[in-house]
């Protein structure tokens, strides 16, 4: 177990750049994620959020820069990192339990059934082990995929717009679930979303990315105590924060690259 020596971030993104041929998806991206915090990444579509997350998961290599986990560079997928995809990404030919055991099968590792049962109980999926994905609702599928990601007890959980396809009510339930799971497991969570509400409810920090090339525009601290009540989330502080983040995102979309670069300079001062 790599212990988190004081002052060292759990995840450190250093000057990360990624190109797809002529397309510069990420450039000079820098970010630190403290252990046991939830950090959300927001930004307009196509600004490189998924690209950044996949690099953090070790699924693809950066063109430049590096990403460190507990001080060591991530060059390939690591068991300490769990990934939750947009859309549940369950294997439709396996039942729910088969999907959750999939990581253990690939690794040739004996599944920790007590932990899995506990997780299933936790997300209210006990009794659905034999059901196939097409027999489960979208929310249930996404809960199953969270169990799958947590089954190997990762210390980092990366989530790529996990609830984007769900309706508003299910989404709020899922947000609470993520908070509860986070309180229980004390993992470090990086959470990509299009929803500023979701980001504010869940995160300790909200990171705004600019598009083309993707880089960090602003990082906002979200100081509200947990568990976060509806009153706090509807209060003035939350409203102001929401407004600033929104202005960041829409400002970029209207005025394009030049203004974004200026704003990014201003953000560095913060």
């Amino acid at each position: 177990m790599a212990t988190n020596t004081s002052g060292q971030a759990k995840l450190a993104i250093r000057n990360a750049g990624k190109r797809y041929g002529a397309v510069v998806a990420l450039e000079g991206c820098a970010l630190e994620v403290e252990a046991n915090t939830i950090v959300s990444i927001v930004g307009p579509s196509g600004c490189g959020k998924t690209t950044l997350l996949w690099s953090m998961s070790g699924l693809h290599a950066l063109s430049e820069g590096e990403i460190l986990l507990d001080g060591t560079p991530i060059v390939k997928p690591r068991p300490e990192i769990g990934l939750v995809f947009q859309e549940a990404n369950l294997l439709p030919w396996r039942n729910l339990l088969g999907n959750i055991l999939f990581p253990f099968e690939v690794k040739g590792q004996k599944p920790d059934r007590a932990w899995i049962d506990h997780l299933l109980e936790r997300v209210n999926l006990k009794g659905f082990e034999k059901a196939f994905p097409n027999e489960l609702s979208g929310g249930m599928q996404q809960r199953a995929s969270i169990v799958r990601a947590l089954s190997l007890r990762p210390s980092v959980l990366l989530m790529d717009e996990p609830f984007g396809a769900l309706d508003a009510f299910t989404r709020e339930e899922m947000n609470q679930l993520v908070e509860e799971i986070w309180l229980e497991t004390q993992t470090t969570i990086v959470f990509i979303t299009h929803s500023i509400e979701e980001a504010l409810f869940l995160s300790d920090k909200v990171v705004v990315l600019t598009p083309r090339p993707g880089r960090v525009l602003n990082v906002y601290d979200v100081p509200f105590a947990r568990p976060r009540t509806m009153e706090v989330m509807a209060g003035k502080d939350a409203f102001d924060l929401h407004h600033r983040i929104k202005a960041d995102i829409y400002g970029q979309q209207r005025s394009g690259g030049g203004a974004a670069a200026e704003a990014s300079g201003a953000a560095a001062a913060e």
């Binding site: 996949w54 990934l83 859309e87």
Partner: protein
Amino acid sequence: MSDEGGVGGRVGKGLQSLSTFGSGTTRLEIAAIIATAVIVIGGLEAALRWFEVPHYILPPPSAIAVALVGDFPLILPHLGHTLVVLLSGFAIGAGIGIFLAAIITQFPFAEKIIAPYILILVTTPMLALVPLLILRFGFGYEPRIIAVALASGPMVMINSATGFRRVDANKIALARSYGASVLQIFWKIRAPMALPMILVGLMIGAIFGLLTAVGAEMVGGGFGLGNRLTTYSSMIQMPQFFGVVLILSFLGILIYVIFFLIGKKWASWET
């Protein structure tokens, strides 16, 4: 040419939609199907007797049934020969077809280049080669087995390739995120994802194989159900002739049912 799965794929989709026929049939519908059969067969029997149609033109169903039961011991060995040709030719063709599809879909460039040739193999009736094969291999099993393999193989291959081409980047990424090897990705992601289309290919391939087996038996050699057809018709034994036709349609239906059931068991997640 970029058309998903080409001709074989299209046929496959057709057969897939046909499979709705087997699912969710109610008791009433089954009763109606049986009643229709009774009316058609009974009506045919009555009409043929009433108009005194000679047996050599069209024998009544009762005469066919009598001939089928009475001559079954004589027909049975020929059924055996046909099954040997069909099963071994199909096993060889399907095995090679699936294997090539799995390999070739990994190399999109090579796939583009050989696609037209596969299409030619699919669309050419392999029956046309049987006289040549007989010249080379004689009147035994060999030319027939080769013809069946040539007929079913490309069908299996073109449909399997459609299946293997259905890559889902997210599912492969999922496997990779747990450190899966190339082989594990193949067996745990690509193969199950391709299975429904492979089954469609196997079904069409088996039916093409049956056609080709019977056709090849009609061309030469003294055994097999196809040979019985030519023999019975030349001797104007029409009840026996139609008895063999019935056996052949039963074989065709059996092939359909077998793959339908396999699909229901192993590929029902698709729908």
